[in-house]
């Protein structure tokens, strides 16, 4: 377990910038902090050995460790209703489709302390006003939309709860079921409206809904259910009603946190914990698939009790990055109660100054988007098939045990929510417990079994071992600064699995190689999924896994366009930026058991590639490594002209077999037959690929996540590390590469 965890408010900072550190105790009484540069995080005894550098910086000595909880659950909060006149007669209404009914009480819409429509533990609709409660005989269904309302008529002293289920398959119109009771309610002024949750007696948000809510509204009169239905179907008609106090149209400003009230009172609110917006609403019947073209049909928000954006912990301390600290990967190390073995690492990058180049001509591209995509992933715990993909039993490290005991920390985009809908959002404003050195994973292959950040430290350790000066820049830096940042470098080196890319990022990197930059793609399954940032919510990222790709869930019909940007979600391959354009190869297969060597092709003797093979002879290379025992494995990419691999690209070497755990990607397996496996199909391979660009640039791609694990073998003294160094040495020379323009493929 982890007695202490924490996070920083940013994953990239320049010298002189401040970084806030948020810490919570999960058993620790005290902690001390120091700053360390992370060099090599793999603690496998077969590897080069763990290495970090203590940075001399006073972070304030021993502190008391304070327990701070995770508070997941999304909702809409509309403050400021106190400006309304006191409400006597009223109607509170909404359209709702729950997606999980599991015995927990769920709130649909609440005016805390005044009125609430909710779902009880048995799935019945309930209404509460003052001390009067109503329970409908009708249960809600996860398969249908329901128009629900709670109305009070003071003259008749009658409180009524109504529900009408839309049954698309039925030939009869929806019919409201109404339950009423006598009640005498005093006129009250609500303080706030909460949608998809309410407040408990302690003032904390509670009773989160798993489900969709559309067009909640509040009136100062008692309306009949049929009238409510008529009004809710037509916002133009609705907003002119003199009785209308508020009606929230979720289809407005969908890319932001803001919730818009279309009534003249304009009581706008905001979302809490980033529920999914731009979701098909009550009136969506497949008329349009792109919310940008018919936003009115995307007027629902899908809420989850498991949504998490910002953990919101109080700041424990703030450090200022020393002005002379060189760019690199660093961590605030939190040592609980003097126990260094239980230390927690809050990892972030120190980028070069924004206003001036560092002078380094090599940059390691720290793939924060991919770290965020996998942040706190639970594949080995939540997905039984992970063991099949690993070819051996799941190992649970301490941080996995912590995740199992603390699901409130929020999920990665590999998980589903409790209602089995996909997790679209992942945030860095919370601890990311698998983004630490030393930690083991599920997918790293037999051997070190490390993944993403810790696996990337094999590359950081290699850069240290060869004494290569370099900057570390992050995905967020590249997204924000584009080519103005990349143009400082001769060479950009990727991590082992740079899978998630925003449009800014992929276009910046493409522009870099087009204009003479040199890209060393030392990984596999790179540049695969489209992701988006949100301009109104720093630190969160969206991924909607549309149509194809190896994926744990689908976004749901009609919900393939990102809510944050309106971009079509899914694979870059389907969005005119196939990875093959950028790096010559694209994802072809995966397996997480053992890896293989490459066998040199005839292209290895091409004079264009002579610099790569200096001191290296075949016929095989990389029959060793910390990631499955070979240089080619885990996730592998193939060169493919049909997917955009340049005609002149040279496939220098390729793997010739993999285990039958390696299967074909869905985007290529259009007609499943049982011959698409690693021992049978030669399309399942890693292609070591090199090509020049017309602008004098060049690209070297390994097409394998396991490559770096082979680099680190024998303390970085091996042919894979040597070849990588050969490439780096030539790539870092100013001399432009000649563009062959021929048919090398």
């Amino acid at each position: 377990m982890l007695p202490i965890v924490g996070y920083t408010n940013k994953l990239t900072a320049e010298p002189g910038e401040t970084v806030d550190v948020m810490v919570s105790s999960f058993g620790a009484k005290t902690y001390s902090a120091d700053l360390r540069q992370i060099i090599q995080g793999d603690t496998n005894p077969e590897g080069p050995g763990y290495k970090d550098h203590l940075i001399t910086l006073d972070l304030g000595g021993t502190r008391t460790a304070i327990s701070k909880p995770f508070k997941p659950g999304s909702c809409v909060i509309v403050p400021g209703l106190g400006a309304l006149p006191a409400i006597q007669d009223f109607t509170l209404a909404a359209v709702v489709r729950p997606t999980l009914l599991d015995g927990r009480r769920r709130s649909i819409v609440a005016l805390p302390g005044l009125a609430e429509i909710a779902i009880d533990g048995d799935g019945h609709l309930t209404g509460q006003a003052g001390d009067t409660a109503l329970v409908s005989s009708v249960k809600l269904s996860t398969k249908h939309w329901h128009v629900v309302s709670l109305s009070y008529d003071a003259r008749r002293e009658l409180l009524s709860l109504a529900i009408a289920r839309d049954r698309d398959e039925a030939s009869t119109p929806p019919r409201a079921h109404i339950v009423s009771t006598k009640a005498v309610l005093a006129a009250r002024v609500p303080s706030e409206c909460i949608i998809a949750a309410t407040r408990g007696a302690d003032g904390e948000l509670t009773a989160f809904l798993d489900g969709k809510v559309d067009r909640p509204a509040l009136f100062d009169t008692c309306l009949e259910p049929d009238t409510i239905r008529t009004l809710l179907t037509d916002f133009a008609l609705l907003r002119r009603q003199r009785s209308l106090l508020a009606a929230w149209d979720f289809s407005r400003r969908m890319t932001s946190r803001t919730i818009c009230d279309i009534s003249p009172f304009q009581m706008h609110g905001h979302i809490h914990n980033a529920p999914a917006r731009a979701m098909t609403g009550w009136l969506w019947k497949g008329q349009e698939l792109d919310w940008k073209l018919r936003p009115d049909l995307y007027s629902a928000i899908h809420f989850h009790a498991t949504d998490m954006y910002d953990a919101g912990w109080d700041v424990d301390f703030t450090l200022t990055i020393p002005s002379d600290l060189k760019s690199g990967v660093y961590a605030v190390r939190l040592v609980p109660d003097g126990d260094e073995d239980s230390a927690y690492f809050c990892v972030f990058a120190v980028r070069p100054p924004r206003d001036r180049p560092s002078g380094n001509t090599v940059a390691f591209l720290f793939p924060t988007c991919s770290y965020m995509a996998y942040a706190n992933h639970r594949l080995g715990m939540d997905v039984p098939g992970t063991e099949i993909g690993m070819g051996r039993a799941v190992e649970l490290d301490r941080h996995h045990m912590f995740l199992q005991n603390n699901p409130g920390i929020g999920f990665s985009v590999y998980e589903t929510h409790d209602d089995e809908s996909g997790v679209f959002h992942t945030s860095r404003l919370r601890p990311i417990v698998d983004m630490q050195p030393k930690v083991k994973s599920f997918l790293g292959g037999f051997g070190s079994n490390i993944w993403q950040f810790n696996a990337d430290t094999h590359i950081l350790g290699w850069l240290d071992a060869i004494g290569q000066n370099h900057d570390v820049i992050t995905d967020e830096d590249m997204h924000a600064d584009g080519l103005t940042l990349l143009q400082r470098y001769n060479v950009v080196i990727t991590g082992t699995h740079p899978e998630y890319y925003t449009r800014n990022m992929i276009e910046a990197l493409q522009g870099f190689t087009d204009r003479g930059g040199r890209l060393m793609y030392l990984g596999g399954n790179g540049f695969y999924w489209v992701v988006s940032f949100n301009e109104d919510m720093p630190g969160i990222m969206e991924c909607r896994r549309s149509e194809a790709g190896i994926r744990p869930w689908e976004p749901g019909h009609g919900q393939f366009y990102h809510g944050f940007t309106g971009e079509y979600g899914g694979l870059w391959r389907r969005n005119d930026h196939p990875p093959n354009h950028l790096c010559g190869v694209g994802m072809t297969s995966q397996g997480f058991d053992v890896s293989e060597p490459y066998v040199l092709s005839d292209n290895a003797t091409d004079p264009r590639a002579a610099f790569i093979f200096d001191g290296i002879s075949g016929p095989g290379i990389g029959n060793f490594g910390l990631a499955g025992g070979g240089a080619a494995g885990l996730e592998v990419d193939r060169a493919d002209p049909a997917q955009g691999t340049p005609d002149h690209a040279l496939v220098l070497a390729f793997s010739v077999r993999h285990t039958d755990i390696y299967l074909m990607t869905p985007e290529d397996l259009l007609d499943p037959t049982p011959d698409w496996s690693g021992t049978q199909a030669d399309i399942i391979r890693a292609d070591l690929t090199f090509f020049e660009t017309e602008g004098g640039g060049a690209v070297f791609s390994t097409g394998s996540i396991a490559w770096a694990g082979a680099m680190a073998w024998n303390n970085y003294d091996n042919e894979v590390a040597r070849m990588t160094h050969n490439v780096l040495r030539r790539f870092n020379e100013e001399t432009p590469f000649d563009f062959p323009g021929g048919q090398g493929w």
Partner: protein
């Protein structure tokens, strides 16, 4: 529920596994492993790391997210390959009722 049921017909694949627990497997053994490692478990065998790369405890992982991982007391491994063999034996017993080590020598 998985369609494939492990029977005495699979003894040859059990021998193959004991020979090479991790790596290339015949299609028949892969099918046995798919049955053993798939979703049909309310409690799935996992290895809880006691000391990274040195010591593991056998445990069972309940299906429910957030449920407690149940340590099987007294079962520790210092070698992952041996752990695989032991888990295979346990699952064989769970699925067939047979003690694999007892059953295997009686057939050829």
């Amino acid at each position: 529920m998985a369609r494939y049921q492990i029977t005495e017909e699979d003894f040859a694949f059990a021998r193959e596994f004991m020979e090479t627990p991790i790596g290339y497997h015949s299609p028949g053994l892969q099918r046995v492993l798919n049955r053993m490692r798939g979703a049909d478990w309310t409690r799935k065998y996992v290895l809880v790391i006691e000391e990274r790369y040195r010591l593991w405890r056998l445990a069972q992982l309940p299906v429910g997210r957030g449920a407690q991982v149940e340590i099987i007391e007294g079962v520790v491994y210092t070698d992952l390959v041996e752990a695989e063999r032991d888990i295979f034996r346990r699952r064989w017993k769970d699925l067939t009722g047979q003690d694999l080590d007892t059953a295997l020598p009686q057939t050829t």
